[in-house]
């Protein structure tokens, strides 16, 4: 699953633009996963600050 580090997130929306599922939603300073996240990790790569990571489901 996708973990959002809110202490790092700069709520810029860069991740939203690359999500192939359209699963990310940014409302003002709050980023959320609202759709079907496939844990592909593309958003985590694109994040300029490193606020996103795909954690193991375990």
């Amino acid at each position: 699953m996708l973990v959002i580090r809110r202490d790092i997130c700069g709520y810029c929306g860069c991740c939203v633009s690359v999500c192939p599922q359209g699963a990310l939603e940014l409302i003002d300073a709050y980023l959320s996963v609202e759709g079907e996240c496939s844990s592909c990790g593309i958003c985590a790569r694109a994040c300029p600050l490193g606020a996103l990571e795909v954690a193991d489901e375990a």
Binding site: C12, G13, C14, G22, D28, R45, L49
Partner: protein, 397 residues
């Protein structure tokens, strides 16, 4: 908000503002929604714009101009600096804006023309009727309301969610997003009339570092790198911190600005039944420079003109609004997007040794005009040994 408008604009950046202003001036009823509580903030931009381009829309006003720029400096990976001087007049001299004030001014112009403006108000879904966009479900302060419109203009920026909800795939490939961080720095020694661009795979892989003056001893110092070059330990923030430590150790950071800019080709189709897509949402930011202010204003204005015609004729189908798509593609802007995408694809694969050679060659050119296109034309004319190198892009010019 009213339950119905002629035109509903999603997003209060320069694209949305120009669309709203243009449509209101034509006498249409216009509603504009901006999801953030303020227009223009937080800034997601390096704030540079060409002088000629801006003046196509408005007279420059010191109230929203931070600095006037009359030359650019290119810095090669080896540190060699070359200046593009003011005598080379052309479209790439310009301004560094204060986007907080600039965006607000544009939206206030739309309001003065008669558009209704709602901030902290967002679209949560399109209203679809028989495959046609017929408005949007709008949320404001916890209240949900259906707002109908003859045409919706999707001007929701790099995030571009509205068109996606309507079935248009706007996702940017990882390699075609420039992931960016910028510091507003003060107390730094800069040339306050020059924009500076640092190139190199060590400095900014598949991107560049920029220094855009914002006033005396103050500048936007930022970096964009390709999403595919970004990973833990080598993200934009890491590259920027290294750059700042070596170039501006004395500087003070008074603002962090983050964001993404697409450097992909534009969307294949920027109209749908009842909807027009403009600006960053349509992926019309410049793939070579990342600039998008003019592009958004141009497409925003054009979208409103075409939508107004379509509404007057009672046909808002994609076919009826196709002149928007074909007009911008055939314009100088559309042609430069196509060309600059291919130039960008060439440049990002150059090793530093070749980049060095290119910048050294540019410095020996006798440039009469100060633009990316002229530089590349002159390079090919003056350095025959570069012909092979540049063959890939020569045919584009």
């Amino acid at each position: 908000m009213k339950p119905e408008y002629d035109l509903l604009v999603i997003g209060g950046g320069p694209g949305g503002a120009l669309a709203a202003r243009t449509a209101a001036e034509k006498g249409l009823s216009v509603g504009l929604v901006e999801k953030r509580p303020a227009i223009g903030v937080p800034v997601r931009c390096a704030e540079g714009v060409g002088r000629d381009l801006l003046e196509e829309f408005m007279d420059p006003d010191p109230a929203w101009i931070s600095a006037e720029i009359d030359r650019a400096v290119l810095v090669a990976p080896d540190g060699f600096r070359m200046a593009l001087e003011p005598s080379m007049a052309g479209s790439e001299v310009g301004y560094v804006l204060d986007r907080k004030r600039f965006d607000r001014e544009l939206v206030m112009q739309a309001a003065a023309a008669g558009a209704e403006i709602q901030v902290k108000t967002r679209a949560v879904a399109p209203i679809m009727e028989n495959g046609t966009v017929a408005g949007a479900r709008i949320e404001q302060n916890g209240q949900i309301q259906d707002v109908r419109a003859k045409v919706v203009i999707a001007a929701d920026g790099v995030e571009s969610k509205f068109a996606r909800w309507c079935g248009v795939d706007t996702a940017v490939p990882l390699g075609d997003i420039e992931t960016c961080v910028q510091y507003l720095m003060t107390g730094i020694e800069i040339d306050d009339a020059a924009t500076v661009f640092h190139l190199g795979n060590e400095i900014a892989p598949e991107g560049y570092v920029w220094i855009f003056p914002k006033g005396p001893k103050t500048a936007n110092v930022g970096i964009g790198i390709s999403g595919r070059k970004s990973r833990d330990g080598s993200r934009p923030i890491d590259y920027l911190n290294r750059f700042v430590k070596s170039h501006f150790p004395e500087g003070r950071v008074v603002e962090w600005i983050m964001g993404g800019v697409s450097v992909c080709p534009p969307l294949e189709k920027t109209v749908a039944d009842g909807m027009v897509i403009v600006g960053d949402a349509a992926r019309v930011s410049d793939p070579l420079t990342g600039g998008g202010i003019y592009n958004a204003m141009y497409t925003g204005r054009l979208a409103a003109q075409v939508a107004a015609d379509a509404i007057a004729k009672g046909d808002v189908s994609a076919n009826a609004m196709m002149p928007y798509d074909t007009t911008w593609r055939a314009s100088k802007l559309g042609k430069s997007l196509d060309r600059n995408y291919r130039i960008k694809e060439y440049f990002i694969h150059l090793p530093d040794a070749k980049l060095n050679r290119l910048v050294h060659s540019i410095s020996r050119l006798d440039l009469t005009k100060f633009s990316t296109l002229e530089i590349i034309k002159e390079l090919i004319r003056h350095d025959p040994t570069l012909l092979l190198e540049l063959r890939a892009i020569r045919d584009l010019l």
